[in-house]
Subunit: 343 residues, 3 copies
């Protein structure tokens, strides 16, 4: 069960062409394409006639023709042809979904159409298209519920144990983080002065000494975690000799046990260095592979044992616990019948 | 849930030898063989002692010996040996099923034994053994409920979209069919004058002009669809320059989501041309592979969403809808307790 | 559902080292290792913090460190470190299980800890460590409920049909066994005078004539079957020209449909002949492979059809039937609430 009245990332903008692309999002099978004019379109991937996947059909100009009996829908979903029948009712149509492109991603709205306001797309991703910041984004697949990935990101102490080859150092395990929870705002901050630089930081910024390392993360319901990161040579406050980036993680649910992991890593240094970009892409994918191995194993256990059977809690569990509450509250609110305007 | 008081094709006659052959039919595991005299025999594939598959045993003459503890049954199912025991009760036996060979197929009756009348085997398959007609039959496996294949065959407009490489032309999509439903009789007829010949028709009969194309199909409950087909050069009515065949489709259920697709294509031209026979075999198997791809995808959707959630209906849906009613009625009738003769 | 207040073999002693070994036993995921001092230790394979597998962590000396957030437990399960926190409650701990090594096997107790008495480990396995007997043991995996393997062993008439290449001869199928049931004692005895020696007996003892063959088996609840075997040249009673061994079968449940088959075959002849040992190991594994093929097929049927639907019973079914009762009684007794000492 996932919230539906929200924007989910459905694809990287670069993934969509004038061709059919299928993807399941929050348990809904979706087929997407661009019209000849480049406008992104999303249909439920199910012909309303015999329920076969529309993704097995073909584009006829900007229209989508089912591959089984040839019934054809224009890009708004309206039926424009039933082979062998001269006329058919006006209400024949396929289901489509609001879709918007922003920050290099394609966003879809699966809930009530009239609530689909593009202004609700989280501004926290704007660093991907901000001047002075070099964009980098990619896609990753994990066979686990997206909540387990949110839990993972909201307690970064695991970096010290799971990611020693890239972003982990001892300090991130040992330094208590400061968690601030105000209503639906969740923020976790950790400042690690004079610590050993993680391997990836050395590779990216050439640190030769200890560093002052900073991370601040916040949760954007229902499934985005943004991490502000900077590091400078210890004690120098010299940002020109350091690094800064945002780690943007948007964890679109596929099903109750699988997730589309869309990520971005805009940075403010060596913006034109494509070798640096590809080095960072590889390092992030490696890091997330380490998370995936652990979290897919955790999912197999949670398939049988509820998380509530845990008996050890840490202070670092506050943020993930609050994030779970917020998402559960969104789901609960969508399920309850609307309150009448007057009693 | 499938009707049981009916004949299902269990095998091509050519498949059965003096050896054990196993196949699941309508959710019942069956093991079949021929006696030395060539008589076909069918057992439930389950030893009544420890429930292991009898198909893992061996033939001892015409008797079937379980491979686990050696208990042996004659070809009528009567127990003839329990190793280590000199005597055993007369009622020890394995379950067998009525079985009949006709039209090149082996037919099995899974329901009440006393109702198994060979005269109920559909005569519609007789063209396979009629003088002047060249027989051709084969077997195909589909991971979908047999009803989806029946739906498919009872609305042939899909040929125009799914089978453009073999039997599809534009006419079969655009020409409305005439559906006649009288009680449990379902017939669909389509005459397509002066149309482009489908590729397979050209390959089979060498058409060089447009053709008049005819198809008439009818449903034989619970799972057979027979299609009469002919085509002649347009406007000529010259059957000597045309082709005629019957497409016989008998869709024996294996389980609730898999089907044994037995088919035959008796034809009245080039009866001794084995190259033609093999060309047709390949073309039919290719055509049914195209159906299979679509229908297995449809099954995966129907595993989660009921067909009743469809919102677009066409006139061509009448025949498949009626066929579903007929089969549901057969199942319903078998499930209700017999009515007492008098009240 | 399996009894828990009993000792199960969890591993061959030779399998455990100062490294993490995981195995599921009676539906519980377990991780085992030896301390530096060689003491065997067993944990529930689940970190009490986030429920990830502890087997994905690492040994830190004799302590077990979770691979996710680095929480660390000493070999008794007591938490000794939570990274980033200076102190934590005394009750933080991971679940461990009593474990004992005996007769070359590692035994685990999954039930109430205070009832774990090492004296309950079955003495019937002692031949593995008895002077004058050459030990031999191995491990085998079967995808079936352990009860089906117990059934199998308690009716050895199947040897005549399933194991003709190793231990089967006609006599074991044809000679009725004597079954003795007294309370929870189940014993089956079969003496086969002047019979053809099975192939493996010839290979092991070089018989050139018929033999007198003896087997006596008994059941040790919940899952061990021990078989005493001897054979001598027919009519000679000359044990120096014969063979004797014990076939020890301990069928630790993994899940409701899979079993860890631990076996041993201590023998009293050619004790120092390692080629003989390896020949016997190969022959036993081959024999059990034959059982496995049959029993995994039986399991697939029992997934759908209850064993109670069987209609053929033999006298040889008495022992397996009684063993099932005994195990069911153990489970039943563990599930009912303890009776108050006084009313």
């Amino acid at each position: 069960m996932f919230p539906k009245n929200c924007w989910y990332i459905a694809a990287l903008s670069s993934e969509l062409r004038h061709a059919l692309t299928k993807r399941t999002i929050a348990n809904e099978a979706i087929v997407m394409y661009r019209t000849a004019a480049g406008v992104a379109v999303a249909f439920l991937d199910r012909c309303p006639h015999r329920l076969v996947p529309l993704s097995m059909g073909r584009l006829d100009g900007d229209a989508l023709q089912c591959g089984y009996h040839g019934i054809t829908f224009d890009h708004t979903g309206r039926c424009v042809r039933v082979p062998g029948e001269e006329s058919f009712p006006d209400h024949f149509c396929a289901q489509t979904f609001p879709i918007v492109e922003r920050f290099g991603f394609v966003w879809i709205w699966l809930g009530e159409r009239e609530k689909a306001d593009a202004e609700l797309i989280p501004q926290a991703l704007r660093w991907q298209s901000e001047p002075g910041w070099c964009p980098l984004s990619d896609y990753f697949y994990v066979t686990a519920h997206n909540q387990l990935l949110i839990d993972n990101l909201l307690d970064l102490s695991h970096e010290a144990f799971l990611h020693q080859g890239t972003i982990g150092n001892q300090a991130v395990g040992e330094t208590p983080a400061k968690t601030t929870i105000r209503g639906d705002q969740i923020e976790v901050e950790r400042f690690m002065p004079d610590c050993t630089p993680p391997k990836l930081f050395v590779a990216a910024a050439g640190f030769t000494t200890n560093i002052d390392r900073y991370q601040r993360l916040f949760f954007v319901p229902p499934c985005t975690v943004v991490i502000e990161v900077w590091a400078v040579p210890a004690g120098t406050q010299d940002k020109s000799k350091g690094l800064a980036w945002w780690v943007i993680n948007s964890l679109t649910p596929e099903t109750d046990r699988s997730t589309h992991y869309f990520w971005a890593l805009p940075r403010n240094f060596k913006q034109d260095d494509t070798a640096m970009t590809e080095m960072l892409r590889a390092a992030v994918n490696r890091t997330f592979s380490e998370d995936r191995t652990m979290i897919e194993a955790q999912q197999l256990i949670l398939d049988k044992v509820p998380l509530e059977s845990r008996t050890v809690y840490t202070r670092a569990d506050q943020a993930p616990a609050r994030a779970r509450q917020l998402v559960a509250e969104l789901v609960r609110r969508e399920q309850q019948p609307a309150t009448p305007a007057s009693a």
